[in-house]
Structures are given as C-alpha cells and as structure tokens.
Subunit: 204 residues, 2 copies
DNA sequence: GCCTAATGCAAGCCTTTGCTCACATTATGA
DNA sequence: TCATAATGTGAGCAAAGGCTTGCATTAGGC
C-alpha cells in the first residue's frame, strides 16, 4: 500500500484582489482543460500557462495538482447541493412525482451546464480520497432524498435512496457517453426508471 | 485534439511455449497490479518485474502499455459475452422474468470473480479508444438483450435495452464503490429496477 | 515616500516512466 | 552438430511533468 496522503487543501487564502484573480484564473484554466481533454491532459504547467500565471504562483496557492482538482469538485458539489435544496423547497408537499421530478432536474442541471467538465470531475472524484467537506455535502444530498422518500411512506428510505441515486447516475453517464443530447428525453427516462422502481414490489 | 493513435494490438504472437508463458505472466501481473492499485499504479517496469520478465521481453510482445490493457479488456469482454450467450441459451423461452434474471446473473458474474479488477478495467475502457473486436462483442451483447426484449413484445427494444444496461451498470458500480458485498441482494435490487422500468408506462 | 508583507516569476531540479537497442541465451530442425 | 530463428536481458535514453527556490515586483498602511 503506497497510500502516501496528498494534501488537497489550498495552501493559503488570497488577501488581495490580485491573488483572488490569480486563484480564479487557475481554477478556470483547469476547468477548461478538463472540459476539452479529460483528466489525462491536465498538467500543472499547462494550467499555469493557460491561466496566464507563472507556475510558481500556482504552487503558492495550491500545494498539489490534486488540490486544484479537489477545489473544482468542491465547487461542483456545492452547486449541485444548492440546486437540490432549492428543488426540494419549491416542490415540497406537491406529491411524490413532483418532488422526484424536481430532484431529477436538479441533478441533471450540472450535466447540462457543462457535460464534459461534469463527466471529467466525477471520473476524478472516485479516484481521489474524499474530502470531509465534500463528504458532508454528499451526505446532506442523500438525506434530502431519504427525507422526501420517508415523507411519502416509502419503505427502507435509505437503501431506496441509494439505489435511485445509482440509477440516475448510471443513466446519465451512459447517455452522455453515448453522445445523447436530448436532456428532456433523458429526464423522462430517468423518471420512468425511478417511479418504476418505487412501484415495483421489492421481491418479484 | 491531440488524438495521436496508439497501437493497442500485440506486436507478435508467441510461437514457443516459453513465450506463451511470458505473455501470460505479463497479463497476470498487470491484472494483479490493477486489482490492487488501480490504473494509476500500473507501469510497464512494474508489470515486467512482477511478471518475472525483463522489460525488453515485455515490449517484444506488447508495443505499448495500452496494448496490455486492451488485451485484458478483450479477455474480460469475451468472458462476459460468453456468459451472456450461455445465460440466454439456458433461459430461452422461460418467460421475461427468467431471462432477465439470467442476464443479470451473467453481467454480475465478472464483478463477482474479481470486483476490483473489473472496476479498474471498466474505468480504463471508457478512457481508451475502442478496439474493433471489443466493439463487436459489445454490439453482440446489446443485440442479445434487444432480441430478448423484442421477443416479449417490449416497445422500442433498442432504447429500452440501452436504459436497462445503464441501470444495471449504475447500480453495480455504486454498490461496489460503497463496498457492498451481498451480490444476491444486489441482484434482487437490479431485478426490481429492471422489471419496474419495464412495467412503468413510458410517460408518467 | 517608505517599509513590510503579499504576490508574482520562471529556470530548472529531480523523479518517474515509457520504451529502445545491442547483446546473450535457448529452442528447433536438418 | 550446427545454423538459424525465436526468445530473453537490462542498462539506460529521452521526455514528461510535479514541484522548489531564489529573486523581482507590487500593494497598502503609516
């Protein structure tokens, strides 16, 4: 086991607006590289160059390459989390189908925003040690789904939520990998899968 | 786009039993490395060392690192393909639920055999240009599912098969990532998802 | 204006790693 | 037995890439 722990937190927080811009440029450059070429093509030198920042500056704020990736993942998960909270607020009490619909829309939104980036980040995420902050966000999102299911009397809401999320992930992933662009259609198919799972008796 | 094509086919076929053993040792070593450390930790030098073979011998048979990985993927897909063909033969005409069951078992079998290796190879597979041979196997497997669905009068069997396979993939992936070991339970849950999808009307 | 802290710079160190090449050894067939 | 083809070897090349370090520049308070 060569599990040499790699630091994945920003080295220091920028105090002046100059450095805030630097950090922002670094993250945006990294995102653009991931978006176009996937995780393989991301190198710290390339990130710095594309950001219009020297490699030294990059390492002033991010101790490792992974720290940059972790920051992008944190941002993505925050957006997703907030989208889900909003969706849940707006659809609360409108019936199971409505809530399911709202949650599917929320989870699909970040794929819509930037499919390639989302795909690359998810790919990287399950290859990287999980951050406490990210773990917390994920747990919150899971609780949101569990809560919704519980309120409608679904049996074993934890396990059910786990499977429903897995179904949504799997279908999104496959659709994107196959180059499908029609997200409304994908939405309908995921709803069909989710509602079908819920209405199907646990044992055949 | 820097899609510099990398040769992924064996450089030459071994003629003597000596060299067949060498090739075999290389593949097994590569598999063991993937199984324990994922794609990141696989280097050609390490593969050669673990195989008890010199690095020169390795490159005599595999022109690139990717060629080794491609060969492993080919093997995995062949096993899966044969498992599905067998499952289909044995369950033919016994009813939709039986056939679904048999196909789920077949697709789960290779995860059962070596979950970590299967996960690593799938991970690598959708990051690598697809081999014609592998594409053919995948198409055959897809046709198998489509055929079964069609025989039971399922509407739009192609699209349905696509989604069902995605559902199975997603659930397996999530279960394995979460460290779930009970494959019988996983089987039941996938069956629930599949049958639920099939019985749910395409529009809510 | 000046001083300190913050920020920015980029040459290049150093490790990793894919891969070659010149040579050594072993099998095979006549 | 011997010639030839097949196979095996490993030092080390070359490129890639993560990261350090020593120095230059700029911002902001006094």
């Amino acid at each position: 086991m060569t599990s040499s722990t790699v630091p994945i937190h920003p080295r220091k927080t920028p105090r002046q607006s100059r450095s805030r811009a630097t950090c922002e440029a670094i993250l945006q450059a990294a995102a653009r590289i991931l978006e176009r070429g996937g995780g393989e093509s991301l190198t710290t030198n390339l990130v710095a160059e594309l950001a219009g920042v020297s490699i030294g500056s990059l390492y002033q704020y991010y101790p490792t390459k992974e720290a940059i990736l972790a920051e992008l993942i944190r941002q993505m998960r925050h957006e997703m989390h907030d989208d889900m909270v909003t969706a849940e607020r707006q659809s609360a009490g409108q019936g199971l189908e409505q809530e399911v619909d709202a949650l599917i829309s929320a989870t699909l939104r970040h794929h819509l925003r930037n499919p390639n980036l989302a795909k690359a980040l998810e790919h990287i995420e399950d290859q990287l040690p999980m951050d406490a902050e990210i773990a917390q966000l994920k747990q919150n999102m899971a609780k949101l789904v569990v809560g919704a299911l519980a309120r409608y009397g679904i049996n074993d809401p934890e396990a059910t939520a786990f499977d429903l999320v897995a179904i949504g992930h799997g279908m999104s992933h496959a659709a994107i990998a196959a180059g499908q662009k029609d997200f409304d259609d994908l939405h309908r198919r995921i709803r069909r899968a989710v509602l079908g799972y819920l209405r199907q008796a646990p044992d055949s």
